[in-house]
Structures are given as structure tokens and as C-alpha cells.
Amino acid sequence: MRRIVQVVMLGLALVAVRPAQAQKAPKAKEVETAARAVAAELRRVWDARDNEAFAKCFAEPEGLFVSGGASYTVASLQAQNAKIWADRANESWKNDAVKVIVLGDDAALLQITFSGRYTLATGVTWEFASSAFTTVLIRRFGGDWKIVAYHNSGSGKQVPK
């Protein structure tokens, strides 16, 4: 009798708990995977100096986009990118940490810490040791994940010659 009760209780517990867990856990994992893909794409487009692909990461031309303490549209971010790339003889970056906060099935927050260095055409080198940051809020639009808010900044040190 006791065994039957245990089996029935276990069955009830499975029926009550499993559907909710089965729906929730994989969805959060999917969102996190999508968010990490956005972080990887941002790194890729920057390293490839691909301004067109950079713009495609964003959902709208005028969101809340900040870089270095100043506000931008996607178009003015692209113009800034072009100027930065023209000024730099070479640069090398890597993402040190990508933190994802899943905010729901259609939203996530990405906090990217990255490091690297660049050398200007003038020969001056700046180094950022895990002190450059990007924060982005992404949303799902149909099957695509796009950036709706973006903040990029860094605190680097000039490398003595």
C-alpha cells in the first residue's frame, strides 16, 4: 500500500512539475545562446571593420545608443567607426567575459568585458586591460535578435614609447 502511494505521489509530482520545467529551461538556454551569438557578431563585425554588418545588429536607427559618454544614432555610430578605423594603424581585441541576463523569452541583457590595444597612425599605442565594456539590451523580432540599447566605453592607458 505504502509503495502504491509513493508511486502515485511521484506520478502526480511529475505531471505537476515537468511541463513547466520542460518549457522554461530550454527557452532560457535558447535566449542565452542567441545573446552570445549577438556578442560574437559584434566582435566579428568590429574586427572585420564591416560597418554594414554592424548596422544590421541594431533593431532601429535611433535607439538609446551611447559610446564614450556621447549619444549616437546607428548612422552616426557608423560614421564614428569609419573614423576610428581610419585613424588606427592596427588593433586587436578579445572578449574577456560575456555575461547574459535573460529577461524573458524575447529579451536579454548582454554585458561584455573586453581587452586589447590599438596603435594610431601616429604611432601612439593605447592599451585596455579588461577595462573596455559594452552593455546591450537585445530583443527578438520574429526570428532575429537585435540590439535596442547600446552603451560602449573604455578606460585605457597610453603605452609609453
Partner: protein
Amino acid sequence: MMPVRLTLIACLAVLPSGALAAQQVSPAVLKEIQAVEAEWAKAYQTHDARILDRILGSEYYIFSAWDGKTYRKADEIRDTGSSKANYASITNTVLDARQYGDVVVALGRYDEKEKKNGKIVEAHGTWQTVFSKRNGQWVAIASHAAPVPKR
């Protein structure tokens, strides 16, 4: 509140469906966010860490381009509670905000006046904070702050 951007509305009209579209926050929500930001400034100015404990989510994490460091909620509470800074004023001003369901992203300006050696030292910055509505209250879950670039 900044005027509604017509270009944004036109753009959103052609975005594929499947997610909540961005909305300028309603005046009521903007007021709530501004109230949280005012409390935040008060916490810094009066070194009242209890306010931060209330308005920051447990996962709160801030990137600070002021010093190139990251801080968690516990760091903010510890640093604010132990601060000896003598502020004449601290103001957080919400410049723009967008709402995505239970998430609000706010962009704002930080203005600080600190009394140091008989002088007033000013500091100005920008911040972007993501808020999530929990138990009827807006709590900050992430921020990114940077000094205003010198012109």
C-alpha cells in the same frame, strides 16, 4: 521628456512582429523611473546604502568607464555606506527612456558637486540603466556609466 521621435515610429511600423516593440515610456512610468533615479542620487549624497539595497536588483552590475572597473550590488552598498565624500549636490536626470514590456532602458545624465578643500569640484557623466519591474517596483539590474567627454 524628449519629444516622440517620428522616425522611430516609422521604423517600428515595418519591423517584423514577434516581439514587443519599443515604446516611449508613458508619463506615469517616466515619473516612476525619475523617482528611482532621484532616490539613487539621494543615496549617494547622504551615504544611505539602505536605499540602494531597495532599488538595486540582486544581479545588479555596473560597468564604470570612470575608473574602468565593474561593481556589483554589494560593492555599491559597501562603497556608498563607507563614503566620506561631502557632496553639495548630486542630480540624476532622465534624458530618454524606452519601455519593452516589464523592462525599461533609461538614458540619463549625472551631475555632481563635491566640496573638497573649500572648493566645489564638479563631475558630469552619462549613464544607461536597465530596469525590471518586480513586485510592482522598478529595480535597476544593470548600468553603464561614463564621464561626459571633455569638449
